[in-house]
């Protein structure tokens, strides 16, 4: 008997997975993103060269064209930069910084924003209006300028970029979570939890939060892409990560001055890597929004 029940059972997770992969474009996006993430994580093992090991760099190999063979006999498929660094290796290492900053800041901003959003919805009254007023103020100001201001105060550095991104992005999560938490908190299960006299923290994080997750996941995915693009922009402007930890944006900035003399590859390929990363995350986010939105369910 039990075997009959188990075999065709459709768990929410399984339904979610099959719906997600119904779109081949989204599946490709996810696959590409996984490949990029793996490349970033295992950079030291798969990159042809360690771009920060000065011993292997040869200034004579500087600004080689894509496909050229360097002095050490190594083929530089994507060319080299002005220091003789292999661009392919530089990009793989740069992806590490970009993804670290993007995912890290999105994650922290999500935690901060979700907590404040839930608190606003649950507490209501003055707490709600104070938090949401700050959110409104923040959202009416362009993110790039806010981040620029914060970084002007904090100075360069990977940690500072993460802080700046968290400070400009938490408001999106707070607004999203508050919206769904306002609906959820009137449901019976929250009332039941309150009647059981559970501690507020437990109601918030064990009962309310899991039910607000779907929109949060969608916003979170999109925000990772935004954070990566914003970090690249800030680094390009010279206010982001320091030269010792170049992200994709900084690699592009380094190639800027050579582009006018026709040496396009120093800027071009990091840009392509950035583009593929952002687009693949957006494709995944788009499909997640369609799958997780109950209003679009047939």
């Amino acid at each position: 008997m039990s075997g009959v029940v188990l075999a065709p059972v459709e768990t929410p997770l399984r339904r979610f997975v099959s719906e997600f992969f119904a779109s081949s474009i989204a599946a490709i996006g996810l696959a590409v993103f996984v490949v990029i993430a793996l490349a970033a994580i295992f950079a030291p093992w798969i990159a042809p060269q360690n771009p920060y090991d000065l011993a292997v760099l040869d200034i004579m190999d500087g600004r080689l064209e894509p496909g050229a063979v360097g002095g050490s006999g190594m083929t530089h498929w994507l060319g080299t930069d002005d220091q003789g660094r292999d661009m392919l290796s530089g990009i793989i290492y740069g992806l590490r910084i970009s993804l670290l900053v993007g995912v890290g800041s999105a994650f922290i901003a999500c935690m901060v924003g979700a907590s404040l959003g839930m608190l606003a919805a649950y507490a209501g009254g003055r707490t709600d209006s104070v938090i949401m007023r700050v959110v409104d103020l923040q959202l009416s100001f362009p993110t790039i300028l806010a981040a620029l201001m914060i970084l002007a105060f904090l100075g360069k550095g990977v940690m500072n970029v993460v802080i700046a991104l968290v400070l400009v992005e938490w408001a999106y999560y707070a607004r999203t979570v508050r919206g769904s938490a306002l609906v959820e908190r009137r449901r019976e299960y929250i009332e039941a939890a309150i009647c059981l006299a559970l501690p507020t923290r437990r109601i918030l994080f064990n009962h309310l939060l899991p039910n607000c997750l779907p929109p949060l996941i969608v916003v979170g995915t999109m925000q990772i892409a935004r954070a990566i693009a914003l970090e690249a922009t800030l680094s390009f402007l010279g206010l982001g990560v320091p030269i010792t930890e170049p992200s994709l944006g900084l690699l592009i900035a380094n190639g800027y001055e050579y582009m006018l003399s026709g040496k396009y590859w120093i800027s071009f390929y990091p840009g392509i890597a950035l583009l593929i990363t952002i687009v693949s995350i957006n494709l995944v986010g788009d499909q997640l929004r369609d799958v997780l939105n109950p209003r679009l369910k047939k």
Partner: protein, 315 residues
């Protein structure tokens, strides 16, 4: 009243923030300067006073329209910013013009024929417009049109002509050639936005009873599209584009840096790099003021356009 309070809070925040950045004396005075010279410079710049006193002096002068002198240019900060403002405004308005010029027809087409492959192509491209980082697209524009093809210049403003005491690029042929690439770069995001808004508006309006009625009367499809549909979608689109003015000026920081366009955005990046405090403070305060004014104007315009908002206020 509330705006004034926001302004005051921002001025304190900005002032303290900029103060925390670093010691401008280190950068401005040559390391060989002796103790006496250093002290004289510190006193001349007013940096020897306690912090709260510096803030009060700053606030008092700010109310008189004096936001301090630039450490680098030794000119009033506000004057330097105002000098650069026409270039930025020119770029921002140019890009808004382009976004409507390009976005409206494309959005209209995509809305009228939602199933044609061309429309799907337009929509897919508009997703790219949202997700591509502006600065990289700018670099690619330079690479293709300035370096490879050599059609357009890559940096600067070119020749300018003078009207009412300020210099504008769009009045000369050379200036127009210079503004084209940066304006396209800055408008990409807004083109996508206009396409999406127009398409959504058209699709919604086409289902309205008055459009059905106009068709039933036997009006030509062109007349229905351009008189009945177009008029009604124009208001929200223009409103949103107007709202984007602040964002455009903010984002011109990136475009101006890529194309070496001598506007306010490039000035602020340069000032941050040399820690020119008065200019940073003045720029940020002006931007905050601008946003408050834009939000205020938008609120007023909405009240005029949407009678429902007025009714609520009365009730």
């Amino acid at each position: 009243m509330q705006s004034g309070f926001v302004m005051l809070a921002m001025s304190l925040l900005v002032f303290l923030g900029v103060y925390a950045v670093g010691d401008p004396v280190e950068i401005l005075i040559s390391p060989d300067a002796d103790q006496f010279e250093r002290e004289r410079a510190v006193r001349a710049l007013g940096l020897d006073l306690p912090l709260w006193q510096q803030y009060l002096v700053f606030l008092g002068r700010a109310l008189q329209g004096d936001l301090g002198r630039s450490f680098v240019f030794n000119e009033p900060a506000i004057q330097i910013i105002l000098q650069r403002m026409p270039a930025t405004l020119e770029l921002a308005f140019g890009s808004m013009f382009l976004s409507i010029l390009i976005g409206l027809p494309l959005g209209l087409y995509a809305g009228l024929k939602p199933d044609s492959p061309v429309s799907k192509g337009i929509m897919a491209t508009s997703i790219l417009g949202f997700s591509l980082p502006t600065f990289w697209v700018g670099l690619m524009l330079i690479m293709v049109f300035a370096v490879q093809l050599g059609w357009l210049p890559s940096t600067g403003r070119g020749d300018t002509a003078e009207i009412l005491g300020t210099r504008w690029s769009f009045l000369t042929w050379d200036g127009l050639r210079h503004i084209l690439l940066p304006a396209i770069n800055l408008s990409l995001f807004k083109i996508s936005l206009v396409i999406r808004l127009t398409r959504a508006g058209v699709r919604e309006t086409m289902l309205m009873d008055y459009v059905k009625f106009a068709r039933a009367k036997g009006l030509s499809p062109n007349r229905v599209t351009f008189v009945h549909v177009f008029k009604n979608i124009l208001i929200p689109v223009v409103t949103v584009v107007g709202l984007e003015l602040g964002g455009t000026i903010a984002f011109s920081v990136v475009t101006e840096s890529v194309f070496a366009w001598p506007g306010m955005g490039k000035l602020i990046i340069d000032s941050i790099n040399v820690l020119d405090r008065p200019v940073i403070v003045a720029y940020l305060l002006m931007i905050v003021l601008m946003f408050i004014v834009i939000n205020l104007v938008v609120d007023i315009v909405y009240t005029m356009l949407d009678p429902r908002v007025r009714l609520e206020a009365k009730a």
